[in-house]
């Protein structure tokens, strides 16, 4: 059955826009995967350091921002200190904004409770280099303040002083964290990924090379539930639910109609042969 593409576009647009304007409040069940990430952060001692790497482009911002915010909310609420950085150039500006916004909401002080190192090119060299000395890879922070002038960073030499690395990514960067930081230096890694990337990392989770995966808007929504707050992740789930449902309905209708047409053609051909 031929259906004008514009009708499909209109159905998808309505399925996305309507729930954003009029939230449905669909129930979101927390999966074991998200709970594992939450509990790993709960087990970190207060004052320990989480390295949050913004390894994504600006294009995936609507999906990765809720993930990063959920992790940061949890860290700041538990007085876990955060060192931010970016291994993609576009992630640098995004991470800078998110980290400062969330820190301001939790009354955290720059240089003591959190710091932002900015971007370094060539992620392989950057990840390996930080295993030897983070100061060597980032002599200054994003705002050009020398590394040793920042009290939090003075305490951190290499991965040995980092409790957990969280890679907020929309691509293959967590693979490099596994290959170069986890395999070589034993650094524990958690990946906060766009939904489409989650399956790609399942073998690493199974093998214990990644401690947990937080996947897509749904992962963010589940994490928000565990934190007891509703934000962008939960709001987006209604829209995503209806969009998925509309696509599924279209696939079913398309198949039913195609099946009917095929049967009709077969009957016509059989009738033609018999006559």
């Amino acid at each position: 059955m031929k259906l004008d593409r514009r009708i499909i576009f209109m159905i998808v647009a309505l399925a996305v826009v309507v729930p954003l304007l009029f939230p449905l409040g669909l129930p979101v069940a927390v999966t074991d995967e998200t709970r594992a990430v939450y509990e790993r952060l709960e087990r970190l001692e207060q004052g320990s350091v989480v390295m949050l790497s913004f390894d994504h482009e600006a294009s995936s911002l609507p999906e990765v921002r809720p993930l990063a915010e959920a992790i940061l909310n949890h860290c700041f609420r538990r007085n876990i200190r955060v060192v931010g950085l970016a291994l993609f150039a576009e992630g640098a500006a995004v991470g800078y904004d998110i980290l400062h916004d969330l820190a301001a909401r939790h009354d955290k002080q720059y240089g003591h409770d959190y710091a932002y190192l900015g971007y370094r090119p060539q992620y392989t060299a950057a990840i390996l280099g930080m295993g030897e000395s983070i100061r060597e890879v980032f002599p200054t922070d994003y705002d050009d303040t020398p590394y040793d002038d920042i009290p939090l960073l003075r305490e951190i030499r290499n991965y040995g002083d980092i409790g957990l690395v969280v890679s907020v990514a929309d691509g293959s960067l967590p693979t490099y964290w596994v290959e170069y930081a986890q395999a070589r230096y034993g650094q524990e890694i958690i990946a906060a990924l766009t939904a489409v990337m989650v399956t790609a990392y399942a073998p690493y989770v199974d093998a214990g090379q990644i401690s947990g995966v937080l996947g897509g808007l749904k992962g963010a929504a589940e994490y928000e539930i565990l934190l007891g707050r509703h934000a962008a992740g939960k709001r987006g789930m209604d829209a995503q639910s209806l969009a998925h449902l509309s696509i599924a309905v279209m696939i079913v209708i398309g198949n039913v109609v195609a099946f009917g047409l095929r049967r009709k053609n077969e009957t016509t051909e059989a009738g033609g042969h018999s006559s």
């Binding site: 593409r5 669909l26 449902l245």
Partner: protein, 208 residues
């Protein structure tokens, strides 16, 4: 000679990077740190070459008649603007550079990316046809995963998300793991060939 020098450099670097993994000593670590610094320097040089290529390409497009010259002008203006804003006012909070990034570049990129949803919906409608048994399995799996990854799946039946979890964690992981092992073996074989000088395609036409 022009071909032998890069092959030798590559072989020495390859052997050193493999060996240093197993050697813990001051001089080796120092040399390793220097190699990492050089990797970043070379990457930045490649980045500069890329920027220069984009600029020269856009200048060429401007000189040609046609609608592309206007796009080229906008591209060049964008590059120049970000360079001026970045070097002129810095990239800190409240800077014009960050304002343009947050209010122009990020929304533009997310808009283009979000268009995928419409094309994916259209492609799914046209592509997911159960023409025979194998494609019927594919369509069924797609429908279950599509619904099971959102709260609607839980509302339909608690078995839907459970089935999704099984599909993603068993058959999908098995296939992915096989691919990863294949990639790993391929990468190891290629690395050995590069170090041994048998694989020279990275030299371009000079490698033949």
């Amino acid at each position: 000679m022009l071909r032998k020098i890069p092959v030798m450099v590559c072989a020495v670097c390859g052997v050193f990077m493999a060996a240093q993994y197993f050697i813990v000593s001051g001089p080796v670590s120092q040399l390793y740190g220097t190699v990492l610094d050089w990797m970043q320097i070379i990457f930045v040089c490649a980045l500069l070459v890329g920027i220069l290529h984009v600029i020269t390409r856009q200048i060429k497009n401007i000189s040609r008649p046609g609608p592309e010259r206007w796009y080229a002008m906008i591209a060049l203006f964008g590059i120049a603007l970000m360079v001026v804003l970045g070097f002129g006012w810095g990239i800190s909070r409240g800077s014009p550079f960050l304002w343009v990034f947050d209010h122009v570049q990020a929304p533009m990129q997310t808009t283009v990316f979000s268009l995928l949803a419409f094309y994916v919906a259209s492609a799914a409608y046209r592509g997911f046809r159960a023409r025979h048994a194998e494609s019927a399995v594919l369509v069924l799996a797609a429908l279950i995963v599509l619904l099971g990854r959102v709260p609607v799946g839980e509302i339909i039946s608690p078995y839907v998300p459970q089935t999704v979890s099984w599909v993603l964690n068993v058959p999908a992981v098995a296939a992915k793991r096989a691919i990863l092992i294949g990639i790993g073996l391929g990468m190891t074989a290629t690395a050995i060939k590069v170090i041994a000088g048998m694989e020279r395609t990275y030299l371009g036409s000079g490698g033949r």
